[in-house]
Amino acid sequence: MDKNITAIMDIICEILDVENEQVQAETYVIRDLGAESIDLLELAVTLSDLFKIEISDEDIFLKSLRGYIEDAKDRKISPETLLAERYPFLCQSRIRDILADLDEGPVLKVRDLLDYVQQKTA
């Protein structure tokens, strides 16, 4: 397994006080693990420290996702296009999955954090 995803999963386990087996790349950070705002803040600070990158909390945690989707509707453009602009670290298939998954709750997955970190460190 990629050492970055392992490091991210370890950090999540420590901050959220969950067991290793509960955290996989496809695990939902908020929906499955119950992360709260304060946990996300600590996660951002720790990831920033570990990978020596500047992190935008708004971007890495997809905080404005639903606002962007509404914005796309208002501007009569495709949500996929706008999300690809706003979140360049997400691939097209992930964006499609996110749009199909919105009604189930917060969509952020562990793999999204990895994609953000990898884009920043590339």
Binding site: S37, I38, L41, E42, V45, T46, D49
Partner: protein
Amino acid sequence: MKLEFSGKRALVLGGSCKTGCVLAQRMKDNGIFPLLSYKSCAGRKRLEETFGCNPAGMDIFPLDFSRTQAALSMLEKKISTRIDYLVDFAQGDYESFVASANDDAVRSYFNDNITFRALAVKRISRAMLRQKKGKLIFISSIAAKRPNPGQGFYAAAKLASEAMYKNTGLELGAKGITTLVLRPGYIASGRGKAFLENKGHTIRKQIPTGQVLEPGQVADAVMFFLSDHAGQFNAAQITLDSGFSAGKK
């Protein structure tokens, strides 16, 4: 009671004021390394007159809130090493009736004293979050409670900053970071000294104990609230004015 401190390094914003200097000495005496920021040449001069040039056991550095990017870079450099405490004395001076204020002066005053402070508190609290421990004390003023002609902008900046600090304590308390707002009354130093020389007699008559504050008394209070004994104070506001602002007048 001998105060105990688990922290070793303290950032003191606006540390060149008289009370900041006294506090820095108290910190040194208690094994805490103070990092004192100053805004102007006058501030640096005051620090050098008090502690000498390049004093041992402390760090002195410029931090002009009006030069946002340079000040943030300097701040980030200073907090890249562990900071256990923050004491924030920094406050610009702008006295004017609200109705006669200069538009540009209002914008820049709020930019320096509210916006920059928010950016600084964000960075400092994030640094403390990494170490899961930290204590922040904002030195406000009783002017935040008692409106005074000409002090509308000063009071507004203090109240806005108080809110930021209190919120930070609420938001990060679970992660070991606590905040406190201290509202001192009239202090016989700095801008308070000149005011008291003119109106001290009248002011003292309004203070139940008849005494204004000395810088050392404020520094002692700050040291107590920084100490391990005051761990349960969080997102709170304490008035330190001998009862001056407690009554109707």
